[in-house]
Amino acid sequence: MLHSIARSCQADACLLWRLAPGSDLNATPPDGRLFVLAQWLKDDKMWASHNLGLSSVTGRAIVAGEADSVPDVRNHPYVDGTDRFFDRTGARTFCAVPIRFVDEQRGAVNVYRNTLRPFRDSELARARGLAALVPSLYQTIRDKVGAALMQSVNGILQAAERNAMDGASSKEGMRAVVQTICELVAVTFQCMETSVFFEDRFVLPGAYELVATTWTDRFPKTSYTKNDGALTSWILARARSVKLFNLLDFHNEKELRKIRKEYEGLTWTDSLEFRDVVRQRFGRAEEGRQPPLSFVGVPIMMGNSVLGAIRCCTAVRPPHYFADGELRLLELVAAQIGQYWSHWVTRRETEEENNSWRAFVNRVSELNHLVQKDLASGELNEDRIYSEALEVAGSVIRGAGILDIRLLDEERQELYYAATKGPAWDAGTLQDRAERRATRYNVKDESIGAQVVRTGTTYVAADLTGDPKFHHRFSGTRRFIGAPLQCQDKVIGVLDIRGLGSADFPKHAVSIAELLGQQLGLYHYLARSIRDLRSAKDELNREIRRQTETYQDLGHQLKSPIFLAQARIQSVLRAVPAETAIAADLNAIRGLISKAKRVGMGIRLFAQLAGSKVEVSQVISLRHDDLIKTLIEYASDHRLLLGPERAVTFHVDRRGFDVLERHDVRVDYDLLEQAVNNVLDNAFKYSFPKTTVRISVGMAENRFHITVVNEGLKLRASETDACKKRGWRSEDAEAVTGEGSGLGLWIVEHIMKAHSGELRVLPTTSSNLTEVKLLFPAG
């Protein structure tokens, strides 16, 4: 455009001037300066000078708002004819046409000729007409550049987000993305340095570290806080953008005042050597007017919090200056990067949280295995479990440096240390360590641990510095989590987790601490329950022993009078004629005594079985006559007890008894009587009216058997084992049973085992016959 304007006026050069920021046209005299925004030189020999004052011809034209021309630069009161520009370009005459940019800033289009030929009115009119188009053209170009930049930034960030969705969210990846954007901004703004700083609360809260930069030399400062007085710090502290025309203005009192008027308290602490570095970069070491060292910096925000800053410095190409448009563009870029950073931080936190929970679940599972192993051995090693629990907390909570578990001593109402972890616990002499571990805390005092135990709620402190409730046993502790160890609303202690560095605990740390507290509470409850159970079991065993002894004693006491009564009644019965009323009464009495004997023996055996097993004591060889007599006598007794109404009879088959003359069957006779009586008791009790209980003996499977068959209640195949269990009764048996405790066959089974024999119960046949066999080894 400038070339076109120059050509239309047959000129050799054309410059576009713009009023520098901070200029004041309304001051008296007007205050300000001009810098070259763009230029066209016929032979492109040099870059036009900066810092043209408002007293110049161009400045006056801008202030007056009217075009002006200079016929001879070497002979004009307001032109410095010795300016190197005129000298280097050979310009002899020029005209200045004032313009107004789209943002209302003033400027001028100057057209220069290398001859003394003055500008004609028609040429001036053409220059004015074309100059009027410059502002909108300039704005269009800027907008286009800005839109291209934003489009590119968006594209980069969208691609980065897509990659992150696929799981790529490493720190290196994030740095690469921000670096690409820095380079893009640097190219667009044509500046030497574009840098981005972010606060990584994960690692070091309060420090804004360099994440990416286009500056290739050694970086003078790679980390800022909000308070270290640097220019970037000011941006971070005030959360405000800064745009400076020339950093060297900090060394010019007048210009500094102007800067401070707009940016209160702003300082630039870098040395002037920076200028030399820049000069070398520009490739213009020679003296003379240098382009300004422009600066623009923008805070990167998310809501009200300052995440970081992006800054650009020293524009390397004309106009060597960052305009408001660049500032606004940088603010848009900052907003985009801020969003990306927030997403990245959230993703990293989520990733950390997921990893921590996964690790926590695994470690707790290991802890449970440990507990299960302990349980198998019957004793829970609480000390080891607490130590392991601290290992778990230390490994899954980032920054957990000092950990311990304090338990409540209910009797003394004090908290004492049950387990500790962290180098701080081992600091000092042996005595120091012992004293540290032995410290106790009253649960009624104001300490945090006491408060956690009293309220059952977790105490969380982000910064304990200055907290009077905190006992500063470990200097440097800043963060603290005190989670209750509890089970069934009862607090039994506290899990203390302290963080030393400045980084915060991760967000999930509290939940992990609370869960671990509950888990430990559960273990503690389990350990206590096991101890209680063991103690109850011991007491129960003692009680069973006492009861067994009592039962045995009662059984022994009964045995003698019953034996005597039985002997006497037998003797009397022998003296009384059979089939008389007295004999019937005596038989009934014998039956009752027999029942009493059976019950008495039952008590003794029950007592034996409660302690261990039935003991066989007085073993004798079974004799043919004795057995027949016993079976008949007991069957008769049972029939009597059943009463005549039921009309149940019995039959003893005498055919098999002679096997006892060929085989030696050794039994404890008292136990044999008990077994036979119990079997007969069931047989009579469950027989239908007007049926017969059949008793037989013999050899089967090389064993001697006593078999009782009755016709009565059904015993199913599925019930033949169950009926030997203590207290078992079938549905029908329940209905017809009066007294009795369901011990009969249970005792018989143990008697048979004591004889290395067998109780065999066969299921009821279709004709309602149930067979019970007592099988004894036979020699």
């Binding site: 009752l592 039921r646 329940e734 209905a735 007294e739």
Partner: protein
């Protein structure tokens, strides 16, 4: 000839039932003991008790539900739940619920002690108004004294 004084004895032990019959019939002049041996028999014959109420009922507490037979009547839910230890008390509740039998004097004749009986009684919805308690004993004097007074 005067009508005999009918006394109903509900007792599931045949030897005891016979002893009770002999003791009462010989100790209470003009008495005749009618015997029932199980709870299901009592229920089955309850309509007869209502239509011809006995002068007195001697009730055992722990009673079998039925005698063994190929056709044992099914046990109602309350019998299954309460078991044989409460059988006599269930019979008493039945008597108390029926206006015609409510006034019949009932003697609970049991080996249970009074305190054990009171515990069981607490579970009953209804208790006959003239319920007496006599513990089973080898000396029948106390039992006969009470029977004579009531009949």
């Amino acid at each position: 000839m005067r009508n005999p004084i009918e006394i109903l004895s509900v007792e599931d032990d045949p030897l005891q039932a016979e002893w009770i019959r002999q003791t009462i019939e010989s100790g209470v002049s003009g008495s005749k003991v009618i015997h029932m041996s199980t709870e299901s028999e009592f229920i089955a014959r309850f309509p007869g008790i209502v239509s011809t109420p006995p002068k007195l009922i001697l009730m055992d507490v722990m009673l079998r539900w039925a005698d063994p037979s190929p056709n044992i009547p099914g046990r109602p839910a309350d019998v299954k739940e309460g078991g044989m230890r409460r059988a006599g008390l269930r019979c008493c509740t039945r008597l108390a619920a029926e206006p015609k039998t409510r006034g019949i004097p009932v003697i609970l004749y049991t080996v249970l002690q009074n305190s054990e009986l009171k515990e069981l009684e607490k579970e009953l919805d209804m208790v006959p108004p003239n319920l007496l308690y006599v513990q089973k004993d080898s000396n029948p004097g106390e039992l006969l004294k009470k029977i004579r007074r009531l009949v």
